[in-house]
Symmetry: C2
Subunit: 81 residues, 2 copies
DNA sequence: ACATATTATACGACAAATCGTATAAAATTG
DNA sequence: CAATTTTATACGATTTGTCGTATAATATGT
């Protein structure tokens, strides 16, 4: 699976979804990525715009990669309305 | 085309490559993304770990998206050695 | 309902990104 | 080569991310 990321909220959703799929708690992910549990919470809730370094560390701990791709039209997202 | 991003340098390379392909100067990209020309320079040279917000803004100005994908093995990169 | 586990929030301290602006350095063009 | 354009670097000021730590709030399980 893959997900396009256009804002902090979308990154948060992807992180949480993947973490839960891996049956991890925030503290597990935090330890694996060498950050605080509080940071994972903030990230998942999109209350911060993390540094690229941090995003990459967290995704790596989830066995995920960041990728740059040609832009595609946004899917319709009912929660935006 | 697409590129996996595992550090600031790789992001910088992708940005510069795409910008040149679009025949833009740093100042053009900067204006379109509402950042300083100096920031584009720093970004492209990987001398900073930009915030996710900033990365997304710059990529959007290049008609590119950020995406989260399942991890793939790293390609062999001779410049790493 | 209660105990426990998990997540969210708070605080000050410190580090780092971004800004505006200016200029140095390098590349391009004529 | 000289003039011009483009990119890289510098500076202080401001904003923001991250830390450690603690605790509040919420969810889970018995």
């Amino acid at each position: 699976m893959s997900a396009t990321i256009r804002n902090n909220r979308e990154l948060g959703e992807a992180v949480r979804r993947t973490r839960l799929k891996l049956d991890m708690r925030q503290v597990d992910l935090a330890r694996k990525a060498s950050v605080r549990q509080a940071l994972i919470s903030e990230l998942e809730n999109g209350v911060t715009s993390a540094k690229l370094d941090t995003v990459i560390k967290v995704l790596a701990a989830l066995e995920m990669d960041l990728s740059v791709i040609p832009r595609r039209k946004a899917e319709f997202d009912p929660t935006e309305y």
